[in-house]
């Protein structure tokens, strides 16, 4: 009996979906737009955090050691900095490497290279490059470095400068901008998704409103709530599935076009490649959202007409 009823509900849903084509079509159009908004919001937040990460990765602080600092002191400092919970990575650049880098940077600058030769020897000290897990943590790291500026073995200074002090204002501001824009983006996405959900629900409600007479007749014939409501929920789910497929198809040229125009804006992030690489997951999100929105909207919309 249970299976017979379910089979009949599903069949009635399929038949209703085709025969009520025009109404189904309008639901599909609106739902496709909603799904596009949801996925666009998702892609936007992914691009956004990828870009923020890129920016964050370009923020670092560098410790310039004095030329007289001993290698063991410098490596000991690197080790202790590495152990800090705020630190993501550290890179030690020896004096020789720093010189090589400098020469490479100025390979076309004959004058500077000549001047370097005149000095006879390496004027550069070693460097320690530090990346924090979050830009807001550079202040703590800088404070720690301040306390470690003297060699523990012979009491002589080992740190020449820490460039955080020069970059402090910029880093603080960037941190504030990143936090603020992330919050703003989340609120904006929330509002957009909420609005499109409400519009979808209303469209489905209107479609079902047109069927209120039928629902009343079905009740008077003695059909149970489940038997009346089931086919509408099935139609909602089918609209969701078709909308998900449509949205996935539309996203292909849309992301292709966007990729052309945004790669320079969003540093090194290609949205089209991202879409292709993560197609499975994105389609799953589309499908699940479509099915859930369709089913719940229909379920709720039928409720008020079932009271007969």
């Amino acid at each position: 009996m249970f299976w017979t009823t379910n089979k009949r509900i599903i069949k009635a849903g399929f038949v209703g979906f085709w025969r009520n084509g025009f109404v189904s079509l309008s639901s599909i159009v609106v739902m496709t737009v909603t799904l596009l908004v949801i996925v666009a919001s998702l892609l936007f937040s992914i691009i956004f955090s990828a870009t923020l990460n890129q920016i964050k990765n370009q923020v670092d602080i560098t410790v310039y050691f004095v030329t007289t600092a001993s290698t063991s002191d410098m490596l000991a400092l690197q080790k202790s900095v590495d152990a800090l919970p705020e630190v993501a990575t550290t890179t030690f650049i020896s004096a020789d490497q720093a010189l090589a880098n400098f020469k490479q940077r100025h390979a076309t600058d004959e004058l500077t290279l000549q001047a370097l030769d005149e000095i006879n020897g390496n004027p550069l000290g070693a460097e320690l490059n530090i990346k924090a897990k979050d830009p807001s943590q550079y202040a703590d790291i800088a404070a720690y470095l301040q306390s470690q500026s003297v060699s523990p073995t012979n009491g002589l200074p080992i740190i020449d400068t820490v460039n955080y002090n020069q970059n402090q204002a910029a880093i603080t501001k960037l941190t504030a901008i990143i936090d603020g824009s992330r919050r703003f983006a989340l609120i904006l996405i929330g509002i957009m998704v909420a609005i499109s959900l409400i519009i979808t629900y209303n469209t489905i409600r209107l479609a079902i409103h047109a069927s209120r007479e039928e629902i009343a007749v079905e009740r008077l014939v003695g059909a149970s709530s489940r038997f009346v409501r089931g086919p509408f929920v099935i139609v909602g789910i089918m609209c969701g599935i078709v909308s998900a497929i449509l949205a996935a198809v539309i996203l292909y040229p849309a992301t292709y076009y966007l990729a052309q125009t945004t790669t320079t804006f969003f540093i090194g992030f290609n949205i089209f490649n991202y879409y292709l690489a993560n197609f499975g997951q994105i389609f799953l999100v589309l499908l699940a959202s479509g099915i859930i929105i369709g089913a719940i909207s229909s379920w709720l919309a039928v409720r008020r007409y079932l009271k007969v």
Partner: protein, 226 residues
């Protein structure tokens, strides 16, 4: 079998649709309810279908107060009652066959029963060859015959026909009345509302006359008196 016990209905705008109606209907009776528009005939039917609740009084079906029924008991009760409306109220996106099979599916009948009963009942109302037509492909009389077929397919105890001939021409009206009589002869109680004199006079059973929400006459072998 059906008993209205002092039933009154007052709408929100204070208009009185039914005023202290007391009425008993026996099994296998053919009862015609007549009266002008607004006399309370349709409200009386709605009380019996539990489409609306009385403001006062009780409605019993086989000694059970139908307005006390729970949801699933209500579904079972409604399957014992077949209804035919003036405006047919067929499901527009279902064929004649599907309109009838819907009532059977809702009642939980098996696929085999549906396959054998639906064509049978369509033959009974003489619509066998239009089984796969949609309502918009049928004439008024044909739609009403589909509605009757749907109402009787679950072999209800009572058939309620609310102005079934109101939208039909005399020939179709005659056909519908003959079908209702046949159904009554087969043992189903029939409750018919109408304001068509010809219909009443050709049936000649019990006639209840209503005016302004009250029963003004109840004749065992009545005629149309307005």
């Amino acid at each position: 079998m059906i008993y209205f016990d002092n039933v009154s209905k007052q709408y929100a705008d204070n208009s009185i649709a039914l005023d202290s109606i007391t009425l008993a209907v026996d099994p296998q009776e053919f009862v015609s309810i007549v009266g002008h528009s607004g006399a309370g005939k349709t409200t009386l039917i709605k009380m019996l279908l539990a489409e609306e609740r009385p403001t006062d009084g009780r409605v019993y079906f086989q000694s059970v107060d139908i307005h006390d029924l729970r949801r699933n008991e209500m579904n079972l009760y409604r399957r014992k009652i077949g209804v035919v409306f003036q405006d047919f109220r067929l499901l527009p996106y279902k064929t004649a066959f599907e309109n009838i099979s819907f009532a059977m599916e809702a009642a939980g009948r098996s696929d085999a029963e549906i396959k054998s009963d639906v064509p049978h009942v369509l033959d009974l109302v003489d619509l066998g060859e239009k089984m796969w037509n949609f309502p918009h492909q049928l004439s008024g009389g044909e739609k009403q015959r589909v509605a009757i077929a749907r109402a009787i397919v679950n072999q209800p105890d009572v058939l309620i026909a609310d102005e079934p001939t109101g939208n039909l021409d005399p020939v179709n009206t005659y056909d519908i009345v003959q079908i209702l009589k046949k159904i009554n002869d087969l043992g189903t109680t029939v409750l018919l509302t109408t304001h068509n004199r010809g219909v009443i006079d050709s049936i000649g059973g019990r006639v209840i006359s209503m005016e302004a929400g009250r029963i003004i006459r109840d004749d065992r072998n009545g005629r149309y008196v307005f």
